[in-house]
Subunit: 330 residues, 2 copies
Amino acid sequence: MISVALDAMGGDNAPEEIVRGAIKAAKTGQFKIALVGDPNILEGLLSKEQATGLPIQVVASEGVIFEGESPIESLKSKPRASVSVCIGLLRHKKVDGVITMGSTGGAMASSVFQLGLIDGVERPAIGGEIIGFSPRTMLLDLGSNVDCRPAHMLNFAVMGSVFANARWSIGNPTVGILSIGAESGKGNKLVKETIAKFEEFSQINFIGNVEPNELLNTPANVVVCDGFVGNVILKLTEGLGIAVCDYIQDHYSSMVDEKTLSMIKEDVFQRTNVVETFGGGPILGVKGLVVVGHGKAQASAVANAFGTVKWMVESKYTDKLETELAKVSK
Amino acid sequence: MISVALDAMGGDNAPEEIVRGAIKAAKTGQFKIALVGDPNILEGLLSKEQATGLPIQVVASEGVIFEGESPIESLKSKPRASVSVCIGLLRHKKVDGVITMGSTGGAMASSVFQLGLIDGVERPAIGGEIIGFSPRTMLLDLGSNVDCRPAHMLNFAVMGSVFANARWSIGNPTVGILSIGAESGKGNKLVKETIAKFEEFSQINFIGNVEPNELLNTPANVVVCDGFVGNVILKLTEGLGIAVCDYIQDHYSSMVDEKTLSMIKEDVFQRTNVVETFGGGPILGVKGLVVVGHGKAQASAVANAFGTVKWMVESKYTDKLETELAKVSK
């Protein structure tokens, strides 16, 4: 069984939906869960949900790091915050991985301080296959690094290649760079300088520029971009998907039968709001496995995040990343 | 009647679709058209399409500036290229505006050289209401300026405000800045510096950050961003719209009747591929009215671009922009 520390207090729907997600995951028989938060609240919820007998153990924490707070100051003022206690369990090898639906900044800062960065990583990143129409293309960084330099983009390319290899068993994953023209001369300063950098490193299977519309159908397994741009892509995709679903519901409910309409909406939503489906993505580049999910996550998304922990543990992602980063750091 | 010079040789479907678009526009009785290109080809197409009697006059040019060519070198090597001849007609006040579906870079370079920039403009921009779910929100820059400085963003805010005022008769248009968090502290270096700049100028009705998902439903009439980010938003929106249409076609054609399916697809397409619908957007900041459309434009998009010329001429957009820019340039 894989053991996971779950931050029961982080996220918009904590702790109720987080606890329900934990129960769902525990019932698969694949996970042993340390449920971290306020013991009184959590024990109450567990007994209400009739979770006795499941491999869920409550671990006490004090306080939560909220979205929008300064992560560094919060780490100091709330040393026993739920996410920090989770990551402490990982540091002491009590668990294989951590899941939180709370503040990404808080999870990242706590991971960097407690676990440290893998040698050769300048900044950790967040990435994943966020466009459901291209299920074998992962994009990074998705928002943790704005104002990147080419060295960061090189980090992202390596992290992404190891991700694609571990996730889809692709031998030599193709890497593209997000730009606003197909020709290599097109793009901003960062893109042009990054291309020059990529061409220095033969272990990156660089295939050139990927335009934003090509993200829907690209031969690149990994697409690298600045975290500002990546976050724009993530949030715009989610927003457009929801707008299309709402539009179809509002204008076609009298013309299409309810069941078919629901199926169309569900298909569009799943392909555009992928983080909801997968439950979350890992923080790439830290010495340990920490999965950060959507603040809005419901129980099913929380349960799905356990799947991400599972494939990353089983594929030994972190170990492989250390090996690959050593090659470009020399 | 509004007189327009139309670049018959620019765009993927030139000259056939451009000529058909010209005929469509001429038949409305609102436009007099100078059709610029190779006279032999154009006369042949016009007679084939039975366009005699319409207010379309062929004007000779030599060569075309293609997408991907260096605009500045092409202007030198092809001084009589179709887009340059069009803009020359505008410079000599033979026409009220220019429409081209050819190279944006070529049209922009030719406009800057022949018409010049309005006082106070550092760089011209491209903008428009590109997300059909928010028909009263215009985004700029859409791709002509990458690596912007706050002074450029201030230009965009003024250009956008005048656009929103002229287009929708909004008295004091609201201006937002695209960022990846709702709080003003969130964003990259450019966003943070731009916010400080906007707050210096009371004539900009600045309402704060707009997140990418909020573009679908924002109180901002104008959203300002770097051209790299704007082009990502434009192309991703187009690509996602097409992917959704294709998906619905592939998976639901046996479950939804053909007519309803076509309507759903058409609705989604129109709301995500808006440039196709409007035919194109103006180059903002140059001394004259030049509308640049989609390279892939078909006849209907070409004809629609005449509508853009019409409202811009009638609202005296360029004059108003000069007045407003003078206020922030002091």
